[in-house]
C-alpha cells in the first residue's frame, strides 16, 4: 500500500507509509519554504525598479529609477557604509568569537561562556541597540556615572558618539549581537571536529594555548563557520532596526535609505526604492564576495605561519586581550540592560545624576494596560511557527538519517538563503504577492512569513546535535522489542530533549524579534511586543521605550530559561540524560 504515491524505503519496516512519505517530502517542502517567497519577493522588487508599476500609471520599462538612484545625493556614502559595516562587523565578530573560544575553551570559565550566550542572543536587536545607545551617549548612563566627579561635566558635552558618521556605534551594536551568534554556531561544531583532541595534541607538543587554537582548531572549524559568517555579513550590511537606532542619519546606511524612499509620500519614489532594494542585494553580495576573496588571501598568507612550528605568537598578549574583552562585553550588556531597567522606573532623571531623582511605576502601568493583546499574539505566532519549523527540521534530519545520506550541499545552502538575502529587498515584493493571491493580511500570513526566518535558525541549532546522536541507540531499542516508531518516539527524541528545547527557544526568539515581516504582512493589524515597542520608539520617550524593550526581551529570555530548566526538571532522576547530548 502506497496511498500517497511515495516510494517505499530500503528499510521497509522503518515507519508507516504515511510517516515515511512525510519524511521524504520534508526536504523539498523546506526548500520551497526557504526559497519560494524570497525569489518571488525579489522579483516583486526587480520589476518596478525598471519602471513597471501599472497602478501608478507606469507601464513602460525604462531606466529612470536607476538613474534617479545613482544621482541621489549621498548614495555613494550609503553604499560604502553598508558595505563596510557588513565586512567589518563580520571580521571583528569572528575574530572576537575565535579569540574568546581560544582563551576559554575547556577552562572553568567555559561553562560561564556557554551560559552567557543564550541570554545575549535572546535580547532582541532593537532592545540591545537602545541599551547601547543610552549607555554610550554623551548624556548616557556611563557619562552620568562618571559625572561630574570624574569628568567635570555639569552638562553633557557636544560629542558625536551615537549615530557617528563612520558607523562605529552601529558596528559596535551589531558586534555585541553577532559575537554570541557566532559563538553558538562554533560551539555546535566543536565536537564534530574533535576540537578537544586537537587542542590536547597541540598543547602536548608545546604550542601555547592561543597558537594551538588558531593553528590546530581554527583551520578545521572555519569551514563549518563559513555560512554563519556570510549570514552575519548579510545581516550587518542590510539590517534596519539596529541601523535606525545607532546608524548615521545623513547619509544613512542603504537599507534605511530604501525604507525612507518606500515611505516617501511621493509614490513615484517606490520605484527608486525598488531599485535601491536591488542595489542592496548587490552590496550584500559584493561584501560576501570580497570576504571570500579575503578568505583566500588569509589562507595563502597564513600557510607559512601555520606550519612554521612556532609554538607561540603573541600568546600572552592575546590571552590577556581575550580575558579582558569578554568580561567587558558581558559588562556592557549588563550595564545596558540595567540602564534600560532604570529608565523604565524613572520619573525624573536629569543629567548628571547617576540614578533617577524620582521613581514611578507609570510606564509599567501603561505597558500593562496595552501589552495583553500583543503578548498573546506574539506567543501564539512564535509557538506555532517554531513548532512547525521544528517538526519540519526533525523530518528533514530523520529522513537524512534513515537514508543514511547527509542532506545535499544544496539544501545546506538553501537553509541560508533567507539569512543571506536582504529582508528589505524581498519583503515588499512579498506583500504585493500576498495581495495578488488575495490572502487577507493577518495573523496567519504573519506566521507564514515568520517561518521563513525561524526555520533556518531552528535547523542551524538542531542539526549538529541530531547528527551526533549515536545510531546504536536505535539498534538497542529495536533489539529490546521496540518498533521503529517506538525507538524514535520513546528513546531517541527524549534523549534529544535539551537540543530540541534549545532549538525551540532560538526559533521562538527569532519569531518574537521580527519587525518588518510582522508589520507588512499583517498590514499593521497584528500587534506583537516588537511592533509595539518600535511604534513607541518613534515617540522618543526613553522611559517608556525602556519598559517596552524589557517586555520585548523578557519573553525570549524566559524561553531560554525554560529550555535550560525543563530538562533538569524532567530528568532530575536521570542525570545521564542531561549529559547525553550537550
Amino acid at each position: 500500500m502506497r496511498p500517497n504515491g511515495c516510494g517505499g524505503t530500503e528499510y521497509g519496516d522503518t515507519f508507516t507509509a504515511g510517516a515515511d512519505c512525510m519524511l521524504r517530502v520534508a526536504p523539498y517542502l523546506v526548500a520551497a519554504i526557504l526559497t519560494g517567497p524570497v525569489l518571488a519577493g525579489s522579483l516583486g522588487a526587480l520589476i518596478p525598479s525598471f519602471g513597471f508599476l501599472p497602478s501608478l500609471g507606469h507601464d513602460e520599462f525604462g531606466l529612470d529609477a536607476w538613474r534617479a538612484l545613482l544621482d541621489w545625493p549621498g548614495i555613494g556614502g550609503s553604499v560604502l557604509l553598508s558595505f563596510a559595516s557588513g565586512i567589518l562587523t563580520a571580521g571583528v565578530s569572528l575574530l572576537l568569537a575565535l579569540l574568546f573560544l581560544a582563551v576559554f575553551f575547556e577552562t572553568r570559565a567555559f561553562v560561564w561562556l556557554r551560559q552567557a550566550i543564550a541570554p545575549m542572543l535572546a535580547v532582541p536587536h532593537a532592545a540591545a541597540a537602545f541599551a547601547l545607545a543610552f549607555l554610550i551617549a554623551p548624556s548616557g548612563f556611563l557619562a552620568r556615572l562618571l559625572s561630574p566627579w570624574a569628568t567635570g561635566w555639569q552638562r553633557p558635552p557636544d560629542l558625536l558618539i551615537v549615530q557617528d558618521e563612520w558607523g562605529l556605534s552601529l558596528m559596535a551594536g551589531l558586534v555585541m549581537k553577532e559575537v554570541p551568534f557566532l559563538l553558538l554556531m562554533a560551539l555546535a561544531s566543536l565536537a564534530q571536529i574533535h576540537a578537544g583532541e586537537r587542542m590536547r595534541l597541540a598543547r602536548s607538543i608545546g604550542y601555547g594555548r592561543i597558537s594551538a587554537w588558531f593553528k590546530s582548531v581554527v583551520p578545521a572549524l572555519y569551514p563549518l563557520l563559513r555560512l554563519p559568517v556570510y549570514a552575519v555579513i548579510a545581516y550587518s550590511s542590510a539590517n534596519i532596526d539596529v541601523a535606525l537606532i545607532l546608524g548615521p542619519v545623513s547619509p544613512p546606511p542603504l537599507a534605511v535609505q530604501v525604507l525612507r524612499w518606500s515611505n516617501d509620500p511621493d509614490l513615484d519614489f517606490r520605484m527608486i526604492a525598488s531599485a535601491g532594494a536591488i542595489l542592496q542585494f548587490a552590496v550584500t553580495a559584493g561584501a560576501i564576495a570580497l570576504w571570500i576573496l579575503a578568505e583566500r588571501c588569509v589562507g595563502l598568507l597564513t600557510r607559512g605561519w601555520l606550519v612554521s612550528g612556532r609554538r607561540r605568537t603573541g600568546d600572552t598578549g592575546l590571552a590577556a586581550l581575550g580575558q579582558g574583552l569578554f568580561p567587558t562585553l558581558i559588562l556592557a550588556s549588563i550595564l545596558g540592560i540595567a540602564a534600560l531597567g532604570l529608565n523604565a522606573f524613572a520619573r525624573v532623571w536629569r543629567f548628571p545624576d547617576a540614578l533617577p531623582g524620582r521613581w514611578t511605576l507609570a510606564h509599567w502601568q501603561s505597558v500593562a494596560e496595552t501589552a495583553g493583546g500583543p503578548v498573546v499574539a506574539t506567543l501564539w505566532i512564535a509557538l506555532l511557527t517554531t513548532l512547525l519549523s521544528l517538526v519540519l527540521v526533525v523530518c528533514v534530519l530523520e529522513n537524512e538519517r534513515q537514508r543514511d545520506v547527509r542532506s545535499g550541499r544544496i539544501l545546506e545552502f538553501l537553509i541560508y538563503v533567507p539569512l543571506l538575502v536582504p529582508q528589505i529587498g524581498f519583503i515588499f515584493g512579498l506583500v504585493l504577492l500576498a495581495e495578488l493571491a488575495e490572502t487577507p493580511p493577518g495573523g496567519g500570513l504573519v506566521a507564514a512569513g515568520h517561518i521563513i526566518f525561524v526555520l533556518p535558525y531552528v535547523y542551524l541549532s538542531l542539526s549538529e546535535a541530531y547528527r551526533r546522536q549515536d545510531p546504536a541507540w536505535t539498534k538497542i531499542a529495536r533489539t529490546l522489542g521496540q518498533s521503529a516508531a517506538g525507538a524514535f518516539w520513546k528513546v531517541r527524541l527524549p534523549m534529544l530533549l535539551t537540543p530540541l528545547l534549545t532549538a525551540f527557544a532560538v526559533g521562538a526568539a527569532i519569531s518574537i524579534g521580527q519587525y518588518l515581516v510582522t508589520r507588512l504582512l499583517g498590514a499593521g493589524r497584528v500587534e506583537t511586543v516588537t511592533t509595539e515597542a518600535i511604534a513607541l520608539a518613534a515617540g522618543g520617550d526613553r522611559r517608556l521605550i525602556g519598559a517596552w524593550a524589557l517586555t520585548q526581551a523578557i519573553l525570549p529570555v524566559a524561553g531560554f530559561a525554560l529550555a535550560l530548566a525543563a530538562p533538569r526538571l524532567i530528568w532530575r532522576n536521570r542525570r545521564g540524560m542531561l549529559g547525553g547530548v550537550r
Binding site: S55, A137, D158, E165, R358, T360, A362, S366, A523
Partner: protein, 406 residues
Amino acid sequence: MLYRRGFAALTLVFGLLGGLSPVGAADAVKEWKQVLDTARGQTVYWNAWGGDSRINAYIDWAGEQVEERFGISLVHVKLTDTAEAVARVLAEKSAGRTEGGAVDLIWINGENFAAMKRNGLLFGPWLGRLPNHALTDPVNNPDLGLDFGVPVDGLEMPWARARLVFYRDTAILPEPPATSDALLAWAQENRGRFTYPLPPSFLGTTFLKQILIERVADKSSLYKPVSESDFAAVSQPLWDYLDLLHPALWRQARSFPKNAGGMRRLMSDGEIDIAFAFSQSEASAGIDSGELPETVRNYVFDEGTIGNVSFVAIPFNAAHSDAAMVLANFLLSPEAQMRKQDPAHWGSATVLSLGQLKKEEADAIRGLDLGPAALPADKLGAMLAEPHPSWTEALEAEWVRRYGVR
C-alpha cells in the same frame, strides 16, 4: 441629542446653500441612518501614528465609545510613518484589489493627502454626509477646506489643529530668541545647544518652511506650485541662513534628532536649550510626566508660526467605509473634540467652531486648562499658513542635496 443638534445645524447650512445642495435635509437624515445601520457590527482599521501613548489611549477611548454606541469595533493600526498606510493602499491597488482593502481610515495631511488624492486612492467625497460636519462652520472657516493649500473636496475630515511652538527652560533661558536672526545669533553664542529634526521628517521640514517664510522676499510665491516660481532664487535666503546656522548646531549638524520626540529627549537630557513641536501640549505633557523640568514654557516667533490642520481620510477600497464614517463623525462630536483638547488626555486643539456649539459646551472647551507650559490663545501670535505641498518635496530634495552628503 448630539446628532439631532448636528442635523439642525446641517439643515441650516443646507438652507443657506439653497439650491447648491444635491440632497435635502430629510434625505440626509435617512441616508445617515442607513450608514449607521450598515456600520453596525463592522470593524474599522484606523491607521494612525502610534508613537505617543497618550494619543493611543485617546484612540482606545474612542474605540470604546463607538463600540458602545454604534456597535463598531475599532482597531488602531499603529504606524511609525503615515506613508506606510499610503504604501499599503498602493500595494492593494497594484494587486487589483478595488474593494475589501485593509485600511479603513487614515490620520493624514499634507503631502500624504496630496499624493493619495493625485493617485486616486481616496474614497468620497464623504465629508458632507457627516452630521457633525456643520459644527466646524465650513463657510466661515475656509482654512479647513484646504490641506496645505490643496482643496480637500470633501475627501477627508478635519480632525485637529496644530501650531508650531518653541519651548525652552525659563530657568536657563528666560528671554528666548524669537526671530530667525535672533536664533542664529544665539546659536552662534551657545554652540551645540540647538538643533532641528532631520528633514524630510514632518517637523524638520516645517522648521525649514518657518525660516523660509520669515526670510523670503515675496511670500506669495510660496503659496503657488513651486513650478511657477524660480525655486533657486526664492529659497536662497533659507540656504544662506542654514549655511551660517549649521556649524553652530548640536553635533555641528553632523547628526540630527529624528522627530519631535527625539528633540524632547535631547531637552530632557540637557543636551539642547531650545526645542519645538507641533503642539502646545508637547511641553506640558513632558512636564507632567517628569521628562521636562517644571520651568519649561512655550513661546512663539514674533512674526508668527506655521499652523495646519490634520484630517482623517478613507481609502478608495476601504472594506468598512460606513463604519469609518460613523467613527469619523464621532471624532468630530463636541464630546470627542473636547476630550482631545484636554491636556489631561491629549491637548490637541479642536477644529470645531465654538459658535456652533451649545453654550455650556463652548464654555467648557474655552475653560480647559491648557497645561503648565501652554501660551494662552491671545499670546499665540499670528498663524502662518503652510506653503503649497509641492514646496515640501522641493525643499526636502534641495536640503538632501546640500547637507545630506559628506
